[in-house]
Symmetry: C2
Subunit: 381 residues, 2 copies
């Protein structure tokens, strides 16, 4: 965990404590002991990072390092534009290579985060080369043959995929909003069965990439100086404003981001009947999403039981201090692994104990993307 | 309307185009003609503004001027601290007076916005003096004897209160979030009867007063400079962050802001059975609230009919352009009278046409407070 590096008061504007050269940090091993980690191991898998220069690509490296992920070697892949640039990772120098059809020879695990069209083109090529692809794009998420996995939620979905079998495979990383929502909702679902879920999101700039985070910062400076804000990534002012998620609107009036939450939840829970509606909104926050979630259960579930269930849930931390009005915030979960849950309360608008309202925050770049993908890769080891 | 003054691109940081001296602007009369207005009229009522130096107090003046509200004279009232200061309004100079027990002699209509304790103490004194009090605080909202009024929604609730009867009276202005929500929900409710409503809010700094807006600006500058943000009004970083509304949490786990929405909706709709749940969140936006509203109806209501109903609704404007992804934003409704509604769509999570999702934005200082109060006063004329 990098928590100590990023204080909530001394806010690093790009939301990153490090970039490229991540070789000096220490991290908490899963055992709890602090060490200088170094994942370079002769018997580790051979890795490729596709889109290594992007916000999530960078976070892949950070998370691999933080978690002491073992690897024999790493191929750093990006577009032609970045090819040839140098990068230091865990005391070793790398040259970024252009992604080509030959990039996956000898690669055991490829972590993709370079957009849907890159995944569509190069994912199958990597699989044909015998690589197991963990894909952060939406390209294959709804493909029935591709598992859509949150390791804490549905690890069994990828149980048939084995490293070292010589057979390539695709595994999809769910959308960030879905991951953060289901990290909190699933433990409750297992106990009382969610039959309907109404979600409103408060989504950070990072979901639209590093350039969007930079634009939010630039716009904020401009607005404070009374200047017209630069609108390259978004078509409207983002600073001191919010707007409906910029994903295209479908014929049913939902945007693609919202439909991801609807469809991915059904697939991950393997429950085609679960009813989900979502309203996805972008707020001027850098790198962590918040979600207001209203849950309707088949079986009764009181709020104390819900709190106990969430207390025991892996990857979830409860921040629910009513007396001091302290609940999850995007800033407090930034650069953290766990999804924070608070405002846990019985829903007044449902009779009996069949409803709960909760408020959830999770780091979009980390658990919403890079961490979840690396956790998937860990399950292959 | 002051729309032309405040461009969405050249954002005035305090969200105000004018302050104190509002005598040079022009406005659209309700007739649609443009004139330089001047509400000073011998046969108009005698007004008092309680809390004239606050964000809402200032907006009272702006709205009175914009709407050409007739008045014989205005008493500008505030705390001892502001007493003696001068203020120019519609070409006339005023001296701010300290609010005392004698402030309401000869006052026909008193607009209060100085907090609950001031209203509790001085509201009844004003009523005893024969004034009709329009109170923006929560002090009397749930008092059965006091009408809680949104003029477009439940004007009949105050039909028994008459100006010039010599009898004082109290009328409460609902909470800003309730007003903005019900402006959109009520026309639909009248058509298909809302039985349950799930609301998540995105609330602006202005709801916590002018000092909170200043703190958000100050914090943002500080964070951009890498400094620790000043936390006087809020106990945590607000810039590039969001948090659960700072209102106290009650024993049921809801905060007071959320319970206002639950209880005030029941009272305004005169429907003790309507089921409402709300999650109220503060976002780093200056002066307009947004709300994601999920509606469940007793009778079917398709989205086209809903759009037609909202198109005809007074005080509501539809901003729902799916093709260009243009929907309501806080910035676009800032300093506007109308509540903007968009993202109107059939709720996928409800069978048949019994559910809708909508996204609503309204100026918190204007329709959420000052405008609604002045509209109440207009109904007395």
């Amino acid at each position: 965990m990098r928590a100590a590096v990023v204080s909530q008061y001394h806010y690093p504007l790009n939301g990153r404590a490090t970039s490229f050269a991540v070789n000096t940090s220490t991290s908490r091993r899963r055992s709890g002991a602090f060490t200088v980690r170094m994942g370079l191991k002769e018997d580790g898998p051979s890795l490729a990072i596709v889109g290594v220069t992007g916000a999530v690509g960078q976070e892949f490296l950070q998370v691999l390092s933080d978690r002491d992920f073992p690897y024999r070697n790493i191929r750093m892949l990006a577009s032609k534009r970045s090819a040839g640039k140098k990068l230091t990772f865990e005391d070793k120098d790398y040259v970024i290579e252009e992604l080509t059809e030959d990039s996956f020879n000898g690669i055991d695990i490829a972590l993709f985060s370079a957009g849907g069209s890159i995944s569509k083109k190069f994912g199958p090529i990597a699989v044909d080369s015998g690589s197991i692809v963990v894909d952060n794009s939406s390209a294959f998420r709804m493909d029935e043959r591709v598992p859509l996995v949150i390791p804490e939620v549905n690890p069994d979905a990828m149980a048939h995929i084995k490293l070292g079998s010589g057979k390539g495979a695709l595994i999809s990383n769910p959308n960030c909003s879905t991951i953060i929502c289901l990290m909190a909702a699933t433990p409750l679902h297992h106990h009382a069965k969610v039959i309907r879920m109404v979600v409103s999101t408060y989504q950070a700039a990072s979901g639209a990439g590093a350039a969007a985070m930079e634009e939010l910062e630039l716009q904020t400076r401009e607005v404070l100086e009374g200047k017209r804000p630069t609108c390259n990534i978004f078509k409207q002012q983002y600073a001191f404003n919010l707007f409906s998620h910029n994903a295209p609107i479908l014929s049913n009036g939902y945007n693609e981001e919202e439909m991801k939450m609807v469809k991915e939840t059904r697939k991950i829970w393997n429950d085609p009947n679960v009813k989900v509606t979502a309203t996805c909104i972008r707020v001027p926050v850098m790198r962590a999403h918040a979600e207001s979630i209203n849950l309707q259960f088949e079986k009764p579930l009181d709020e104390d039981t819900a709190r106990d269930i969430l207390k025991r849930a892996a990857g979830v931390v409860i921040v629910d201090d009513r007396a001091s009005n302290h609940f999850p915030t995007p800033l407090e979960v930034s650069n953290k692994d766990d999804v924070a849950v608070g405002r846990i309360r019985q829903d007044l608008s449902q009779d009996g104990n069949y409803g709960l309202d909760i408020f959830v925050c999770g780091d979009q770049v980390r658990k919403g993307a890079a961490l979840n993908a690396v956790q998937i890769a860990e399950m292959l080891l």
